[in-house]
């Protein structure tokens, strides 16, 4: 499997081409064309004990948090990186970044209960404007519009419980 990754560390952001070969004898990972054998063992809960050839070890637990974004806990550190398989990376390069932003849906980023809906169909909203208030764990949390637009429909009502990723409002397609 081939991937294109972007990762930021003190030496700056760098793009890396990653190739993973899994075989019964282990894992070979090539970073920018330099292959190395890694000793990688699964740990409970979806993590790995990652052991590099020079003996450096860390417990790393990757979480996919969004389209191509992965967050990895490495020991007590938290690393956020972009990881796209080669096909998606190419498609995205052709379509331009905008293709992934155009969605007209306002979604819940956390589970909660709808406390208030602040916009009605036909309303104009600005990017960053709060459109729904969710209550979770005794706190009120604003859900903001991802872009400027006109509200097409409201998909939830006050009092309703919503899960992560659930559509709260739809915006008219961007002009």
């Amino acid at each position: 499997m081939k991937y294109r990754a972007k990762v930021t560390s003190p030496s700056g952001e760098r793009s890396v081409e990653v190739e993973v070969q899994l075989d019964p004898t282990g894992v070979v990972v090539s970073l920018d064309g330099r292959p190395a054998r890694w000793n990688i063992v699964s740990t409970p809960g979806g993590g790995f004990s990652v052991l590099r050839a020079d003996g450096r070890q860390a417990e790393a637990v990757p979480h996919r948090v969004g389209n191509g974004t992965v967050r990895v806990r490495v020991g007590a550190e938290r690393v956020t990186l972009e990881l796209l398989d080669e096909l998606t990376a190419r498609a995205q390069a052709v379509a331009g970044k905008g293709a992934y932003r155009g969605s007209g849906d306002v979604k819940a980023a956390i589970p909660g209960r709808v406390l208030r809906v602040l916009a009605n169909p036909g309303d104009s909203v600005l990017q960053g404007q709060p459109v729904v208030v969710l209550e979770a764990m005794k706190m009120e949390n604003d859900v903001r519009s991802p872009r400027d637009g006109v509200v097409h429909s409201v998909e939830v009502a006050a009092g309703q419980a919503v899960g992560v990723g659930q559509v709260l409002l739809r915006l008219e397609p961007a002009v």
Partner: protein, 497 residues
Amino acid sequence: MTERLLIANRGEIAVRISRACRDLGISPVAVFSDADRASLHVRLADHAVGIGPAPARESYLLPEKLIDAAKRTGARLVHPGFGFLAENAAFARAVRDAGLVWVGPDPESISAMGSKTESRARMKAAGVPIVPGMTTPAKDPSEIAAFGREHGFPLLLKAAAGGGGKGMRIVRSEDEVPAAFARARSEAVSFFADDKVYCELYVEKSRHVEVQVLGDRSGRVVALGERECSLQRRHQKVLEECPSPVVSPGLRARMEESAVAAARSVDYVSAGTVEFLLAADGRFFFLEMNTRIQVEHPVTEMVYGVDLVAEMIRIALGEPMSVPQRPEPRGHAVECRIYAEDPSNGFAPSPGTIHRLRWPQGPGIRVDSGVEEGDTIPLDYDPMVAKLVAFGSDRDEAIRRMRRALRETRVEGIETSIPFFLALLDDPDVLSGNVSTQFLEGWTYPGDPAPTDDAAELALVAAAVASARESLSVRGSSQPRPPSAWRTARPTFGHRE
């Protein structure tokens, strides 16, 4: 007959009380809302009673359901924990009237300390220092100015009917009095529909230092040193320690003496906490008394070698407390309240299912938690997941151990405030104890530290291998694999809804 104790609470404190019961040979009885049917506090109990839907006002806040649960299970004792009905005098009285034993102070003591004005008056009479303030509302600005000339500036103007920080104004000099008085008055009207305002001395850069007390039916009242609780976010304590890094043995003795006087003035039995505001010049003033066990009680337990919850139960049973008259502190303890919230995202709540959990272990570490691996943090209650406590022979060692414990902890599936604490314990002012209750208002979480090149590479390899394995298993097998962090990064709630 087996002695049973009903725990009128949930989560971490219910587990804590259940442990004290076991240590004393008492059988713990749990109560649960629909959201808590299989929570840890229920799993650890010998009996459990469902008391209603998830919202607390339909379950944990209903005295009649709790008393009924005690009767049905043959529990003679009732421990309220903290929060919910812990400082509700009517509940304490109802428990007593039902022929049950309330593990806490008498309802009369709860009431006396529950009223701000009554408790202030009682403290004044008992010789406990209170913040100098007017006892009647000011009729005009000249009364405020006269008070300032007598006691000094700055002053804090407050709405007599106020609360929650609304309608308060700081006045730094006599010139500011007329304008501030007019403003405070109009704010008092708009917030509380009552134009009465008064003032008290405003103590700048003050600390929150509280004294643990314990009283029993023989009339003994003992103070168990102080806790430093100045580090607060949105008026919620986040990190506490015992002893305070700034309280000398002489000051401790004076604060303990005042705390004991405060407790005696309301005939206090059981565990309680007298909260003081400590000024930079060493003066201290009574704030309020919490008539219950506190969240941060473990730091006192570690330094004084006592089990406060077990003492509460002994005292409720009419036995004398097993604490000496002059308990001596030993070493230092620090507590971090671990919340299900994401410090790198404005401390947004992060409920969900914990699919990987490793608590720290080893020398000097104590974990009080209400969850295990696989558990879901419900939306309906306080987001505190656990209290991490580190003990050391001195403050430095306790903090070093706390850092180790925070790094050793693994919680996957939800975000927690652990990165916040690691950053906080790197701050020079926190390390030197140079803080006030305002400290965290002016302190922002600096964000996750940039990963080292090594960590970045290990992370990248782990992410790529996780993705490659997933692709392989999708192609190679129709069998669904067990959920992992990778597949269900932000799990939804399922049956909780």
